[in-house]
Amino acid sequence: MLHTVNKSPFERNSLESCLRLSAAGSAILLFEDAVVGAVTGTNIADKVSAALADREIYVLGPDLAARGLDQSKLIDGIKVVDYGGFVDLSVEKSAVQAWV
């Protein structure tokens, strides 16, 4: 399963719910405002890091760039993809679940 999250974890609980309800082996893509959850030094960074133990986490590069966030500040283990990479992930995984 590819889980997509598009809201800031400082505004909504969608990332937390996704982390709670995504099974081991699934992938999570942070895009739109959710990309702010991919950087170090936030109060949710530890939770995101912990999830990397059994899930892959990706972030959409164009949304990071649009918000002035530097890729060098990403939490270790989070991978950057573009829209094509988003498409590839949704093909690789069995289905896509949006945490809207």
Binding site: R20, A23, S94, A95
Partner: protein, 135 residues
């Protein structure tokens, strides 16, 4: 006849404040005609959609909560409710409507539609879906 897919409708928003709950229910009712393997999940504020005793007379909006009671007649019989979401909101399953379906293979016995599950159990059910419609 194409293969049957597992469809899950994930409800995470309270009713009335936004239209998502009502319009999700409209999709579920239409979708019931397609003979797929359907289930609903109530997570986060979605659990408020199936609260007992909803009364909308004071807000001038249609109370659509009784429609959830009709889901059994549409053969929508698997309603997963996440225990952790209820607990976080100070609720128990007794605060929810009694939702049932009649099992025609078991002498039309009335059976509960609500399946109270833990986060871990729900995560497994979700991981197994073919199509997830999120509202």
């Amino acid at each position: 006849m194409s293969e049957i897919k597992k469809f899950m409708y994930v409800n995470r928003k309270a009713p009335y404040g936004t239209v998502y709950a009502l319009e999700s229910l409209e999709v579920v009712l239409i979708g019931a005609a397609f003979d797929q393997d359907v289930s609903l999940a109530f997570v986060d504020d979605g659990v408020y959609q199936i609260m007992n005793g909803q009364n909308t007379t004071g807000i001038g909006m249609k109370n659509f909560s009784s429609t959830y009671k009709a889901l059994g007649d549409y053969e929508v019989t698997k309603l997963y409710v996440e225990k952790e979401s209820l607990e976080a909101r100070g609720l128990t399953v007794d605060d929810l409507m009694e939702l049932t379906w009649e099992d025609e293979d078991d002498d039309y016995e009335e059976k509960p539609s609500i399946r109270l599950v833990s986060s871990a159990e729900l995560a497994e059910v979700m991981a197994d879906q073919d199509v997830v419609l999120s509202f």
